[in-house]
C-alpha cells in the first residue's frame, strides 16, 4: 500500500468544493438542532427556540445551555480534531488505514490520564485544565517511542513499520491499562472504564475552554501545512527531489497530529475510527488535495461525532451509550470495507 488509495485525478472545481463544504456545514447545523432536542427531558423544537432566544424557564436554560450545548460543541471540536489528526497521519504513513487509535497514540494519552486518576486522590479539586496537558504528555511520549522504534538511519520513517509498531505499542499500553484499572477502587474504576470506552463528559463549558485553544491553534497550522502533505503523498524520492526537508516536516506534522489526538482524548477518552473514516469520506468527496481535504475532513469528523453522540444519548434512554462505542460499531465495518477494497 504505497499509495494510500488511488483516486481519479482531482478536478479542482472551486464551486463544487465550496458547495460540498457548505452542504456539510448545513448538515451540521441541522444535526445541531436535532441534538439540542435529544435527551431525557423532552423539549419541543419551539421550546428550544424559545429558550435559545432567552425566554425559557430556568430548568430549560440549564438543560440547554449548561448541559446539552457544551457537549455538542465538544463533540464537534473532537470530531474535527481526530479527523485532522487522521488526515495527517495518513499522509505521513502514506497509508489510508492509519489513525491515532490504530497507531497507539490514543492509548498513550489515555494511559497518562489513567495514571493520574489512579494516583491522585479524588479529594483534590477537579483539574480540568490539567487533563489535556497530561493526555498530551502521554500521547507525545508514545509518539516519540513509536517514532524512534520505527526510525532507521537507512530508510528514515518507514510507513509500514510506523503502523506495525504503533499497533504493538498500543497493545502493550492496553495491557498495562488493564493492570492499573483492576487496582482502582470500584468508583474510580467505573469512571475510568466508561471514560476509556470513549464517553464525552457532559455539559461543562470548562472542557470546551480546555480544548478550544488546541483546536484553534493546531487546525489552522495543519491547514497551513497542506502543501507539505500534498508533496509527501508523492513519495520519499520525489519529495526530496522537490527540495522538501523530509524528516523535519514529518516531525512537525507528527507533532501536530499527536497534540490534536492528545487534547481530544483528554476530553473524550479514546474514540477510534473517526480519524480514519472522516478523511476517507472527505477524499471521496473532494479528492486528495489537502488544502480542501483537511477542512472537509474536519467538517465530516465533526458531523460524524455529533451523530454518534446524539445516537448514544437517544438509543437506550435513559441509559447512555458511550460515544466511542457507537463510533466503533458504526466505524469498524466501514474500516473493514475499506480494507477489503483498497488496493495495494
Amino acid at each position: 500500500m504505497n499509495r494510500s488509495t488511488s483516486f481519479p485525478p482531482a478536478k479542482p472545481r472551486r464551486s463544487r468544493e465550496a458547495g460540498i463544504l457548505t452542504l456539510l456545514a448545513v448538515l451540521i447545523v441541522i444535526l445541531f438542532l436535532v441534538s439540542m432536542n435529544t435527551g431525557l427531558m423532552r423539549l419541543s423544537p419551539l421550546e428550544v427556540l424559545h429558550t435559545l432566544s432567552g425566554n425559557g424557564t430556568k430548568q430549560q436554560q440549564l438543560i440547554l445551555f449548561d448541559f446539552r450545548l457544551p457537549r455538542i460543541v465538544i463533540s464537534l471540536l473532537i470530531g474535527a480534531g481526530f479527523a485532522v489528526a487522521g488526515v495527517i497521519l495518513q499522509g505521513l504513513s502514506r497509508n489510508a488505514l492509519a489513525e491515532p487509535s490504530t497507531l497507539g497514540i490514543n492509548a498513550g494519552a489515555g494511559f497518562a490520564v489513567l495514571i493520574f486518576i489512579s494516583f491522585v486522590p479524588a479529594t483534590t479539586a477537579a483539574p480540568i485544565l490539567v487533563l489535556p496537558l497530561l493526555a498530551l504528555a502521554g500521547a507525545s511520549l508514545t509518539a516519540t517511542l513509536i517514532y524512534f522504534l520505527s526510525y532507521r538511519r537507512e530508510d528514515g520513517l518507514s510507513p509500514t513499520r510506523l503502523i506495525l509498531i504503533g499497533i504493538a505499542v498500543g497493545a502493550g499500553i492496553y495491557a498495562f491499562q488493564l493492570i492499573l484499572s483492576l487496582r482502582l477502587d470500584p468508583q474510580n474504576y467505573q469512571f475510568v472504564a466508561i471514560w476509556l470506552a470513549g464517553k464525552i463528559w457532559g455539559g461543562d463549558w470548562r472542557f470546551v475552554l480546555a480544548l478550544l485553544p488546541w483546536i484553534l491553534i493546531l487546525l489552522p497550522f495543519a491547514f497551513y501545512k497542506a502543501r507539505v502533505l500534498n508533496v509527501l503523498n508523492l513519495g520519499d524520492e520525489l519529495s526530496k527531489g522537490l527540495g522538501l526537508p523530509l524528516e523535519r516536516e514529518r516531525r512537525w506534522l507528527l507533532a501536530v497530529a499527536v497534540a490534536l489526538a492528545g487534547a481530544c482524548v483528554s476530553v473524550s477518552g479514546s474514540i477510534g475510527f473517526v480519524g480514519l473514516i472522516a478523511p476517507h469520506l472527505a477524499r471521496r468527496l473532494v479528492g486528495p488535495r489537502h488544502q480542501i481535504l483537511l477542512p472537509a475532513a474536519a467538517l465530516i469528523g465533526a458531523l460524524l461525532l455529533l451523530t454518534a453522540d446524539t445516537i448514544g444519548r437517544w438509543i437506550l434512554q435513559p441509559a447512555e451509550v458511550p460515544t466511542g462505542i457507537v463510533v466503533a460499531i458504526i466505524g469498524a465495518p466501514y474500516f473493514l470495507y475499506l480494507l477489503a477494497t483498497s488496493k495495494a
Partner: protein, 345 residues
C-alpha cells in the same frame, strides 16, 4: 465484579435504631410525592416529606427552632448554602440515613441491577435515579438540595454541574466511613440533629443488648463474614459496614484470615482466594451469597465443604438483597437482627 455493591459497603451510611426507624419510615413513606418534571422549584414541593417524628410538628415552616438558610463548608471546601428547609433532597446512596431521619428523598440510588433492596419497603414510592447522576435526570426531579457521599463521585466538573441544579454538599469519604458521624452531619444539614442523636442512642442500646445475647450464645467463637460474588470471595474486616457491627459493636472475635492481612493493605472487603479460605479456622461463617442464582459450583465444591465451619454446618447464608453489603443506621440495625436470628435461638 464488585462495582456497585462495593461502593455501598464502603460508604458509610447513617443509622438509627430499628424501632424508631420503622416508625419514622412508615410515616415518611406516606408523604412521599415526588414526581419528575413539572415542579417549578422548592417552594411548591410537598411540605410533609420530612417531618414525622414523634415530637416534630408536621409543617416544616412551623418547627420550634426557626430554620434559616445556612452556609456551611463541605468536605471538598465548597461553601454550600443549605436551604432553610430542604424539601426535595437527592442523596444518592445515602438513602439509609435519610430514611432514618424521616426524610424521603425525591429519587433513590439505582443501578441496572436495581435499588438498595433492603430499603425497598421504606422507599417503595421513590423513583430511581442512576448511580452516576445523569444531569438531565437530576434536573427532572427539581431537587432543592443534594448530598453527595464521596469526593470521587463528583470528579471532573460533575460537582459544579450538580451545584447549578441545586446546592450540593459533599459529605466526603472520611465522614461517610463513620456512620455515626455521617448521620449527625446529615441531621445537622437537614435540621434533624435531635432525630440523629436519638437514632444513634437507640442503635447503641440495641447493639448493647445484642452484644450480651450473642456473647452468651457463642462465647469466644470467631465468625467470618464472606461475600461470594461472580465466583470470587471477599472477607470483611472490622472497620466498615457489617464488619463494624459484628466485630466492633457486638464484640465478636475476628477470624484468623482477617488478622493475617497486613493492616495497610486492608480494605473493607478483602479479596480472598478459595485456596486461602481453606485455612479459615473460624467457628462460624456468615455467607453473603450474590451468586445464588448463577449456580453453586463453588459452594458445592470439595474445598468449600472442607472448611471446618462448613463441615460443622455453621454457615449462615444471606442473600444479596439483605443489609449485609451496606452500612448505615438501618442497614446496621437489620444486620443485628440477622446476627441475632443466626446465633441466638
Amino acid at each position: 465484579m464488585f462495582s456497585f455493591n462495593l461502593q455501598g459497603s464502603r460508604s458509610g451510611k447513617l443509622a438509627v435504631a430499628g424501632l424508631v426507624t420503622t416508625t419514622l419510615l412508615l410515616s415518611a413513606c406516606g408523604n412521599n410525592s415526588s414526581n419528575a418534571g413539572s415542579n417549578g422549584g422548592a417552594g411548591t414541593a410537598p411540605a410533609a416529606t420530612a417531618e414525622a417524628t414523634a415530637e416534630a410538628t408536621a409543617v416544616p415552616a412551623a418547627t420550634a427552632a426557626p430554620a434559616v438558610e445556612k452556609t456551611v463548608t463541605d468536605a471538598m471546601g465548597h461553601q454550600v448554602t443549605v436551604p432553610a428547609n430542604p424539601q426535595r433532597v437527592i442523596a444518592s446512596y445515602l438513602e439509609d440515613y435519610l430514611v432514618a431521619l424521616g426524610v424521603t428523598p425525591v429519587a433513590q440510588w439505582s443501578t441496572k441491577n436495581g435499588t438498595q433492596a433492603y430499603l425497598a419497603a421504606e422507599l417503595k414510592d421513590v423513583p430511581p435515579i442512576s448511580y452516576d447522576l445523569p444531569l438531565e435526570a437530576v434536573t427532572s426531579f427539581t431537587p432543592d438540595f443534594h448530598i453527595v457521599q464521596s469526593e470521587g463521585s463528583v470528579q471532573n466538573g460533575l460537582y459544579d454541574q450538580l451545584n447549578k441544579i441545586a446546592p450540593t454538599y459533599v459529605l466526603g469519604d472520611e465522614v461517610s466511613s463513620d456512620w455515626r458521624a455521617a448521620l449527625l452531619k446529615i441531621g445537622e444539614l437537614l435540621n434533624k440533629t435531635p432525630e440523629a442523636e436519638k437514632a444513634i442512642a437507640d442503635y447503641d442500646q440495641k447493639a448493647a443488648s445484642a452484644k450480651a445475647a450473642v456473647s452468651a450464645a457463642i462465647g469466644d467463637d470467631s465468625v467470618a463474614v464472606l461475600w461470594l460474588v461472580s465466583k470470587n470471595f471477599f472477607i470483611v474486616d472490622e472497620t466498615r459496614s457489617s464488619g463494624a457491627v459484628l466485630y466492633g459493636d457486638l464484640g465478636v472475635k475476628l477470624p484468623n484470615l482477617v488478622t493475617d492481612i497486613p493492616a495497610e493493605s486492608r480494605a473493607p472487603w478483602n479479596p480472598i482466594s478459595l485456596e486461602k479460605l481453606s485455612e479459615l479456622t473460624a467457628e462460624h461463617i456468615i455467607l453473603v451469597n450474590s451468586d445464588k442464582a448463577s449456580g453453586a459450583e463453588i459452594t458445592e465444591g470439595a474445598v468449600w465443604k472442607g472448611i471446618p465451619a462448613v463441615k460443622a454446618g455453621n454457615v449462615h447464608e444471606f442473600g444479596k438483597d439483605t443489609s449485609w453489603l451496606y452500612s448505615g443506621p438501618i442497614a446496621n440495625s437489620k444486620t443485628i437482627d440477622d446476627i441475632l436470628s443466626s446465633f441466638v435461638k
